[in-house]
């Protein structure tokens, strides 16, 4: 136990120069070699953005409004995904700092931007009746019902992060490309599920109240922060078998902590902005119900608050 932390940095430092030399040797060819990487990143952004733009155009063609803010949010999410896939970040993701940056982009910030764009509402607005029926059936399915319980989503997302960093899984993802691909896909899906369960503006039949979602948000953010401090405190032997010097791992843990804080604040802002909007709508409906004269129906169908 005592010898292990002393031995490990030696191994890490011995490995580091070899990696640095390899990176340096490849530097001359880097500009030419990274061209396909950039093309792939741009292609990813286009593939994510174009269907959304087509859907929004279809909704507008049907005479309904689609907020430009939602479109901007989706585009932002797509650009963040593209940034995470771009050659500089992808190359850096072999080290602790780059891996953490990629996790923050793919698993926390991009999903929030994508979820705030209401993709399910767009699907309902732009799809044919058959598509709408299918979406509604999926929303009502048991899987979606269980997965969108905020505590379950938190377990999948933050629990997955614990699993990745406290077991040899991270080391395996650095060695084996297919494990790495699975981890990346998990980041995006779990992060989207979590953002959707906490602050999704999409219609969901079983969404719990603001209070419950806020409590789970606090607990999950606390768990995320504790993991970051744990990785900092035990940088000599965590994550087990992963590359990087102790100093690099400490830097990565600090980035994980502050990047996680930023994501928590943004998620909370999205959650409470939804609460404020709902309160405005309810207040106006109540006023309509109390007002003499016409029935409250026209008020209820008035557009929601900005």
């Amino acid at each position: 136990m005592v010898a292990a932390p002393a031995a490990r940095p030696v191994v890490a430092e011995a490995a580091a120069p070899a990696g640095a030399v390899a990176a340096h040797a490849g530097h001359g060819a880097a500009t030419a070699a990274s061209a396909p990487g950039w093309a792939l990143a741009v292609l990813l952004v286009v593939a994510v953005v174009v269907p959304y733009l087509a859907g929004a155009a279809r909704v507008r063609a049907r005479g309904r409004r689609w907020s430009r803010w939602r479109t901007a949010s989706w585009t932002t999410g797509a650009l963040l995904l593209g940034a995470a896939a771009s050659p500089p970040v992808a190359a850096a993701s072999a080290g602790p700092l780059g891996h953490t940056a990629q996790h923050l982009l793919l698993g926390m910030h991009a999903p929030l931007a994508l979820v705030l764009a209401s993709p399910v509402r767009l699907l309902l607005g732009a799809g044919s009746p058959a598509v709408r029926r299918r979406v509604a059936a999926v929303l009502r399915s048991r899987l979606v019902r269980v997965a969108s319980v905020p505590a379950v989503a938190a377990l999948v997302d933050t629990g997955g992060l614990y699993l990745l960093h406290l077991t040899p899984l991270l080391a395996a993802s650095h060695r084996l490309p297919w494990v790495h691909a699975l981890v990346v896909v998990h980041f995006v899906l779990a992060g989207s599920l979590w953002a959707w369960a906490v602050a999704g503006p999409d219609p969901a039949p079983h969404r719990p109240g603001t209070g419950e979602r806020a409590v789970v948000l606090v607990l999950a953010a606390a768990a995320h922060g504790v993991l970051a401090k744990l990785l900092y405190a035990r940088a000599a032997d965590l994550p087990p078998g992963a590359p990087g010097t102790v100093a690099e791992r400490e830097q990565a843990a600090v980035l994980l902590s502050y990047g996680g804080d930023l994501a928590e604040v943004l998620l909370a802002a999205a959650l409470f902005a939804g609460w404020l909007r709902l309160r405005g709508v309810r207040a106006r409906t109540r006023m309509g119900a109390c007002a003499p004269g016409p029935s409250p129906t026209p008020l209820r169908s008035s557009p929601p608050a900005p």
């Binding site: 948000l217 606390a222 600090v254």
Partner: protein
């Protein structure tokens, strides 16, 4: 925060109490953010993690930090809701803000620094003057908040809190 819960008996309206509570939440979040920015980032007196923190301190610190951030955001939106409904009682809000600011600082100085020993105000110095200044500063803010609460109560004001007057400094 505990004080503001039972305080507005005289004014007696839900809005006065809500104004104080919402502002107290903002106060707690603001003081925590100020602590983070000034002492961690600018002065570098506190450490990100100082290796003497016991496990229970690590977990409680993480929980507290998450609560603070959400309180600040939630308080901001609840404040916007009060203003939009014209239900803000400014005197009570100022009192709650000071109670929140001071309450957090006293809590941080006593529980975090001394009981849980998450981190200290500064390292490599005689801690006593720093701890005293830290905690006394918090106590002063709490006293100022309590005095404002008394004034707000004496001023009374009709339900809805609109008549409870402007901010104490006059704005």
């Amino acid at each position: 925060m505990a004080t503001s819960g039972g305080a507005p008996v005289g004014a007696g309206t839900a809005e006065a109490r809500r104004s104080a509570l919402v502002a107290a939440a903002v106060g707690v979040g603001l003081m925590a953010a100020a602590d983070e920015v000034v002492f961690h980032q600018l002065l570098g007196w506190h450490h990100f993690y100082d290796r003497s923190t016991p496990a229970v301190g690590l977990v409680s610190d993480g929980l507290l930090h998450a609560v603070e951030l959400v309180l600040l955001v939630a308080g901001g939106f609840a404040f916007a809701d009060l203003r939009r409904r014209g239900a803000l009682a400014p005197r009570w809000a100022w009192s709650g803000l000071l109670l929140g600011l001071g309450g957090f600082q006293v809590f941080d100085g006593v529980v975090d620094h001394k009981v849980l020993r998450v981190h200290q105000v500064r390292y490599g110095v005689d801690l006593l003057p720093y701890d005293l200044a830290w905690i006394l500063g918090g106590v002063l803010l709490v006293v100022a908040g309590a005095l404002l609460a008394l004034r707000a109560r004496r001023a009374g004001g009709p339900p809805g809190g609109r008549g409870a007057g402007g901010p104490p400094g006059g704005r």
